[in-house]
């Protein structure tokens, strides 16, 4: 209660401050109004084919509509000299005309092929989308920001085909995973390479993002060579435009609630009755009924405020913005606050020399629940009272406590704290110099700094801090990365032949330092190291470094903007690889053809645009840590003994370790039909070879693993994006976008004829199977005669023929013979998103859903709350409708007889806890309203929009836990922090 009151105070003070800023701006602008000469302008509006357009809008820029064309496409308006007329028509590119003199004019509007005409930034160059030979997806900043989050990956979920975003947690301080076109790596990183504003790495805030371009095939990603194997995500931040200065403000405030899906824990009575069915619990227990889930989760607040200014003249342009994002977790004592500042400046010294300076600072504060909270919410018993009669949390150490941990975490939470803060500073200096008409040079340079510190404090009054009289853990780290990329570009045209050649040399160097300390014996409420009396452990710290050096050349050719070809070559070297193999070469080829430019297509009116694309190339993956190839003795506190420093073997050498290589082929088609339907389809095959793999070794080798390049994995898939303009009326439009991706993964080979790369694991990576396929002892249900758990046991007869028997002995099935592939994988069969946008006059209604289908999730938490009596000091879940418990001989049940101490290892790892993880989620629904311009005009506001929006309001799934979403590559759901449902109110104003 008190909590939410405080946050509303904070919100209101922000709002007051911002309101003052506006009013000032508005008043100044109102005074600056001036009148000039009056003109009468008349004209005719036509389309491409000289057909007159009836019902086209004629407006004065920044004001309300002043006229609509008649049946002959004619209009007449009164304006002041210098006003800008904006003539618009549905699905046409609007035209702007400056009113200079009275009289008739003719306006021809062009059909809008917005996506195709858009300029896409692809790595080291930018091109119109229609001239690209490769598979890319672009998502504009506005499309991204329908969902409210400070995490770009989360915003991308479901918005681009083949880009699979999944998140393990609804914690606002945690991130999401991105997987492009299936997993093709075992032990190396699987996330795409991030490129911000033209250079590898860098920082950004979602509020400043102009667009995100995802490069998927080798022709596009290839220039990033050794680091492009997982795809590339290119982020472009906003920049100023010459002309009128613009000030924009937006505010989004809303409430969050945890999703609970099909999941419910037992209350006191339910649990007591359940326990009574197989034991004799203390009848007094039922007098207390605590709902720990409800005590752990709350309704919380999300706030997002952005203020920006942009503009400039022909020589200099600027974009300056500030953003405050604060999201409270639905879990108590958990929140994130992020402050972002960005300045992007561009200055032209001459026609030849352009300088760009980009500065971005992000300051983030994360607050974590010091006790975790999730484990407690899922497992604590309703029999234990959280609060005493005085309304204060009970100190569980001095009362009867039934739960396993003898701990009321709400008591300890009063005194303990855990938080982190980080500061990111990224500064770019880019120079573009035109040497001659055909030759230009560019240097892109960036220095990034990252400072992080975390602090966990366990007060001596709390249970966790009592043993040591208070504990404090501090960690500080600092990293710096320098990138310099130098580019020489030659462009020329010879008749219809256009060529461009690019040569690039690039170096990256990075270092990371860390220091962690732990102290004890601190006075209550003093989380500072100097107040401590002793150390808990010896401090730890160290430094990591890596470097990359890259050279590349690319040649780009097109004939009459009809036929396109691109070829490139990259040589890359990294300190991360073995001395014998530290450099590698990559090459890429691509071609495309715009069929609609051919004469024979001219007659086919239904097809407005048709392009075929094809590409092939190689890329790499180097995300494996900095020293993976070295044979090492570790020098650390864990290798010291009896107060003396020691060194213990920690890593087996592999001087031959090298890049993981991806060979990728892509065929694509882009087509526009009837000016209403835009379809892009891509078919691809990616084969990863020399997979970087942290291969487990038997302990008899003296090591637990070695990094090796092993075998190959293939991903094949098809993905499409379909946009349809269902209704295109002047005041009423409806647009639908559907994107879907189908990916199939198969392990083709492993080294030395091995069948599994991680034998015995639940996902062992077996030759011939999906690398995320589950391989587990198979649960065979419950023996109706006695309620025993049953598993499938695979037995081989004398002739070597395998057959299946059933057993209640888990140990006889937990082995290589009886583990079976179930045809179930943690990777989805398909995934995607569908969005609908409807506009009616000033109103916009949009709904966006994302879905994954056919993936299986190991619901690990059921081990704790669905275990047939194994843990009577944990709470249990309420069975969904279809589940039943064996009670008496003859019962056909899904769950074994409950027994104290559990029923024959029934909760051990098997296919029992494997569940269908398919889901469809209403990621966002927004109803927005653009305030009428005549109303805004009086306040000199050029546009204003209000909206109400809901994130994740509905999820359809059969999953038995609170939230079906998991990190799809791991497929394990364990003490899931549920995704937040948010209801948000927003306002954005532009001057």
């Amino acid at each position: 209660m008190k909590k939410s009151k405080q946050s509303f105070h904070r919100v209101s003070s922000y709002l007051v401050l911002l309101f003052l800023v506006f009013t000032t701006i508005v008043l100044q602008r109102a005074n600056a109004q001036a009148k000039s000469e009056k003109l009468i302008i008349s004209g005719t509006v036509t389309d491409n084919n000289n057909q007159s357009l009836a019902g086209a809008n004629v407006a004065i820029k920044g004001k309300k509509t002043v006229a609509v064309t008649d049946a002959g496409g004619k209009f007449s308006v009164d304006v002041f000299k210098g006003d800008v007329l904006v003539i618009s028509y549905v699905n046409m590119t609007p035209a702007e005309i400056v009113a200079e003199k009275s009289g008739p004019i003719e306006i021809k509007l062009q059909t809008q092929d917005k996506l195709l005409e858009e300029v896409v930034i692809v790595g080291y160059s930018s091109k119109k989308a229609k001239y690209l030979s490769s598979a890319v997806s672009t998502v504009s900043g506005d499309k991204l920001r329908d969902v409210t989050s400070n995490n770009l990956a989360s915003l991308l979920q479901g918005k681009a085909p083949g880009v699979l975003v999944s998140s393990a947690s609804g914690d606002p301080t945690s991130g999401s995973n991105i997987l492009i076109r299936g997993a093709g790596t075992i032990s190396a990183g699987s996330g795409p390479l991030v490129v911000v504003d033209g250079n590898i790495g860098g920082t950004y805030n979602p509020s400043d993002v102009e667009s995100v371009t995802i490069l998927k095939d080798a022709a596009a990603t290839g220039l990033y060579g050794s680091r492009a194997g997982n795809g590339v995500m290119i982020i472009t931040t906003k920049s100023g435009k010459a002309g009128k200065s613009k000030i924009e403000f937006s505010s989004v405030v809303g409430l969050n609630n945890a999703t609970t899906g099909n999941f419910k824990l037992m209350n006191s009575r339910q649990l007591f009755d359940y326990l009574s069915s197989f034991s004799t619990p203390d009848p007094a227990m039922v007098n207390t009924n605590t709902n720990w889930w409800d005590l752990t989760f709350r309704q919380s607040l999300t706030q997002n405020y952005t203020l920006s200014a942009s503009g400039g003249n022909d020589k200099t342009q600027y974009y300056i913005s500030g953003n405050l994002y604060k999201e409270e977790g639905t879990l108590i004592e958990n929140d994130k606050t992020a402050h972002n500042f960005r300045t992007n400046l561009t200055h032209r010294f001459s026609n030849k020399l352009k300088l760009s300076v980009l500065l971005n600072g992000i300051y983030t504060k994360d607050k974590y629940n010091p006790e975790g909270g999730l484990y407690q919410a899922y497992t604590y018993l309703p029999f234990d009272a959280a609060y005493g009669t005085d309304g204060r949390p009970v100190d569980s150490r001095y009362v009867q406590w039934y739960g396993r941990d003898q701990s009321n975490y709400l008591y300890s939470m009063q005194y303990n704290s855990s938080n982190a803060r980080s500061f990111n500073l990224s500064s770019d200096v880019n120079i573009d110099y035109t040497i001659t008409r055909h030759l230009s040079f560019a240097t892109y340079n960036r220095a990034s700094f990252f400072d992080y510190s975390s602090r966990s404090f366990y007060d001596k009054r709390s249970q966790g801090g009592a043993t040591n009289g208070g504990e404090l853990y501090n960690s500080e780290s600092f990293s710096k990365t320098f990138v310099s990329s130098n580019r020489l570009r030659y462009e020329n045209s010879f008749g219809n032949h256009n060529i461009a050649v690019l040569a690039v040399g690039e170096a990256t160097q990075s270092a990371y330092d860390v220091l962690s300390t732990s102290v004890k014996g601190l006075p209550p409420g003093r989380p500072f190291a100097s107040t401590a009396t002793a150390v808990i452990n010896v401090p730890t710290g160290g430094r990591n470094e890596y470097s990359f050096h890259k050279y590349l050349a690319q040649a780009d050719y097109n004939f009459a903007n009809k036929y396109f070809a691109v070829a490139s070559f990259v040589r890359d070297r990294s300190s991360r690889f073995g001395n014998n193999n530290s450099a590698a070469n990559f090459y890429q080829l691509g071609a495309s053809w715009i069929a609609t430019t051919e004469n024979f297509m001219k007659g086919i009116n239904a097809i407005n645009f048709l392009k075929l694309r094809i590409s092939y190339g190689t890329t790499g993956n180097a995300e494996i840590g900095d020293y993976a190839s070295l044979g090492l003795y570790s020098l650390s506190t864990s290798s010291s003994y009896a107060g003396q420093p020691g060194a213990a073997p920690s890593q087996k050498a592999n001087p031959n370790l090298t890049w993981e290589k991806q060979k990728a082929a892509n065929i694509g088609i882009d087509i526009t039909l009837l000016k209403r339907i835009e379809l892009s389809v891509d078919v691809y095959q990616k084969t990863a070879e020399d997979l970087l793999y942290r291969k487990p070794l038997p302990a008899t080798t003296g090591y637990s693993f070695i990094f090796e390049n092993v075998g190959s994995v293939r991903n094949r898939g098809i993905e499409f994006s379909l946009t349809t303009k269902n209704i295109m009326k002047r005041d009423f439009t409806w647009e639908t976008n559907l994107n879907m991706a189908f990916n199939r993964n198969k392990v083709l080979s492993l080294n030395a004829g091995a069948l599994y790369s991680n034998p015995g694991a639940a996902q062992p990576i077996g030759v011939g199977y999906d690398m995320d396929a589950w391989n587990l002892p198979v649960w065979a249900g419950v023996d109706p005669s006695n309620g025993d758990p049953l598993w499938e046991k695979v037995v081989m007869d004398a002739n070597g023929k395998k057959y299946v028997t059933y057993t209640n002995n888990y140990n006889s099935v937990a082995n290589a013979t009886s583990r079976q592939y179930l045809g179930k994988s943690s990777a989805p069969k398909f995934s995607g998103g569908i969005s609908n946008t409807i506009t009616y006059k000033g109103f916009t209604l949009s709904a966006f859903m994302n879905f994954v289908y056919g993936n299986y999730v190991y619901n690990d938490t059921r081990f704790y709350y669905d275990n047939d009596g194994n843990y009577d000091s944990y709470n249990s879940m309420v069975f969904p409708k279809e589940w039943t418990r064996w009670q008496k001989a003859g019962d056909i049940a899904t769950h074994p007889r409950a027994l104290p101490g559990g029923n024959k290892l029934s909760n051990a790892s098997s296919s029992r806890y494997l569940e269908d993880g398919s889901y469809i989620r209403l990621r966002n629904i927004t109803l927005g309203y653009n305030l009428p311009t005549n109303f805004l005009e009086k306040m000199k506001i050029s546009s204003a929009r209000v909206f109400i929006s809901g994130d994740n309001l509905w999820t359809g799934t059969n999953f038995s836990g609170p939230d079906p979403e998991v990190v799809l590559s791991s497929g394990v759901s364990s003490f899931r922090y549920p995704t937040s449902k948010k209801i948000l109110f927003g306002l954005s104003v532009s001057f």
Binding site: S279, T280, S396, R397, W401, R404, D405, Q406, I435, L439, A466, T467, N468, S484, L488, G505, I536, N537, G542, N544, S547, D626, Y627, L630, G631, L632, Y633, T637, S639, Y641, A642, G643, G646, A647, A648, P649, L697, P698, A699, T700, T701, G702, Y703, S704, Y756, G760, N811, A814, N815, F863, N870, Y871, D872, S873, P900, G901, G902, K904, A908, S909
Partner: protein, 501 residues
């Protein structure tokens, strides 16, 4: 002009980049090629070998596997930790603790083998000492492994599957595909290593480290387990007569596990944990004790989980002699003099906390688990004499241990007194081992290697899998679960490892 400019630019660009090519070495690790090149580095690496013992995955997991099958402890409530399975004998092939123990043991062996291979036998005394210490560690690991995964030596004279034996001369391929040696062959290899180690170790070392008498002490234990009683006596005598060790006095004895180990004259070898190596709730002692730093017990989860207690069977037996100083290693949890019970099971389990793994140097959960101490040498000699029919010699050693614990008069045994109570000399020796070495990982194995059963008829979770609310459990020496399963994850990586039935 045009070409000239572009060439300059291109060249600058290339120079800029090639200037900073380099390789990096990690700051907290050294390259293996330079790790064992001189005596000082070899000493550093030897420290690293010992350090593995301190890893909870070794010291804690091995404690659970060796101690929890005994009848001096009682688990008062179900636990989600795999440790319950060691206690309840419902083993699983994917046991986390068995895997930890196996893996860490072979890490020690692997690290030791590198050093053993790096030191020629004719080196200086310093280097020979280090080689001996690594030989000792290798032997100790093999011996503990065969104890946990192989059947007791007296069963079938060691002709049962043991564990893989790793020597320093194996190829990489052999290490990947090695099979289990027989129990008797493991013993033979361990004896050879220890004999060799005792010969090489000539320098004095504090008890966290190996030295000649440490190797001899382990040999005495091994010969006893093999029922080579003469050799057991011979090596026990070497240690007892070395003059390096003495039993703590009656007054020092209750503080045995609270003092810093180096000052303890009775400890032969321990796994040293310094003040900054407290494992807190993950320590062995956290399972046994919860209370304050002065040793006053309190409710569960105050300083430790406190869910494993001394069994009622052990407590009652120890209490037959109220003067017995060994009672000070128990901290029964009482409130206003009333004994507390863990009520999660029916019948309830009395909360007899154990403090042998707590309160070292005033830190609640700190301890340096003792691997061998002098009292065991006397009891080894006593057991061997009992088996050789030297009744009086056996009872002399037993009484020495009893006197040290404050017992006297009729509390001491005579040949006549034990005949009256119809016990054998061996019965009395084994009882004394139980009283003296309780919670130190000996009991279950002492019974099994002597062909006796573990009998648990006292409150605890042990029999829950048989019938609800039954507290009776008997495990015979012939039971399959006297040994643990070979970790399934290791079998998956090396199919030549056969499984125990």
């Amino acid at each position: 002009m045009y070409n000239y400019k572009s060439i300059i630019l291109a060249v600058t660009l290339v120079l800029l980049l090639s200037a900073c090519k380099k390789n990096f070495e990690p700051s907290t690790a050294i390259d293996e090629n330079s790790a064992l090149t001189n005596a000082a580095d070899i000493e550093t690496a030897t420290i690293g070998t010992y350090a593995v013992l301190r890893n909870p995955a070794y010291v804690r997991s091995s404690h659970f596997l060796m101690e929890y099958p005994g009848d001096e402890i009682a688990q008062g409530q179900n636990s989600s930790d795999d440790l319950s399975r060691a206690y309840r004998y419902n083993h699983i092939t994917t046991s986390g603790h068995a895997t930890n123990f196996w893996v860490q043991s072979y890490f020690v062996i692997g690290a030791a083998n590198k050093i053993i291979a790096a030191i020629p036998d004719n080196s200086s005394a310093d280097l020979r000492q280090l080689k001996g210490e690594n030989l000792f560690l290798r032997a100790m690991m093999h011996f503990n492994l065969v104890r946990v995964f192989g059947r007791p030596y007296p069963q079938n004279s060691g002709d049962n599957p043991g564990i893989p034996v790793l020597k320093e001369d194996l190829t990489e391929e052999q290490k990947l595909t090695i099979s289990r040696s027989k129990v008797k062959d493991v013993y033979a290899s361990v004896i050879a290593d220890l004999t060799n180690a005792a010969d090489m170790m000539t320098l004095p070392k504090a008890n966290p480290f190996a030295s000649r008498q440490v190797a001899n002490a382990l040999l005495a234990r091994i010969y006893l387990y093999m029922e080579n009683n003469d050799k057991a006596i011979e090596f026990a005598n070497k240690v007892i007569n070395s003059g390096n060790y003495s039993l703590l006095s009656q007054s020092e004895f209750p503080n045995y596990f609270k003092m810093a180990p180096e000052g303890n004259s009775e400890t032969i070898f321990c796994i040293r944990h310094t003040k900054t190596e407290d494992q807190d709730f993950s320590a062995i002692g956290s399972m046994y004790y919860s209370g304050d730093a002065n040793g006053n017990p309190a409710g569960q989860a105050q300083s430790g989980w406190g869910e494993i207690y001394a069994s009622k069977k052990y407590y009652d037996f120890l209490s037959t002699n109220p003067a017995d100083k060994r009672q000070s290693f128990l901290s029964p949890y009482r409130i206003n003099g009333v004994l507390q019970y863990n009520t999660r099971l029916t019948p309830n389990t009395p909360m007899y906390y154990i403090n042998k793994y707590n309160l070292q140097e005033g830190i609640i959960n700190l301890s340096s688990p003792v691997y061998i101490r002098l009292a065991e040498m006397y009891l080894i000699r006593a057991e061997a004499n009992a088996k050789l029919g030297n009744a009086q010699l056996a009872l002399d050693d037993v009484n020495l241990i009893r006197q040290r614990s404050g017992l006297s008069g009729t509390a001491l045994h005579t040949v006549a007194s034990i005949a009256l109570s119809s016990k054998s000399v061996l019965d009395v020796v084994l009882e004394e081992r139980w009283l003296e070495l309780a919670f130190e990982g000996h009991r279950a194995y002492d019974l099994f290697r002597n062909g006796r059963s573990v009998v648990r008829n006292y409150p605890g979770t042990h029999a829950l899998n048989v019938t609800p609310n039954n507290i009776n459990q008997t495990i015979t020496a012939a039971d399959n679960r006297v040994v643990f399963f070979i970790p399934e994850s290791e079998r998956a990586k090396n199919p030549n490892l056969t499984q125990n039935p």
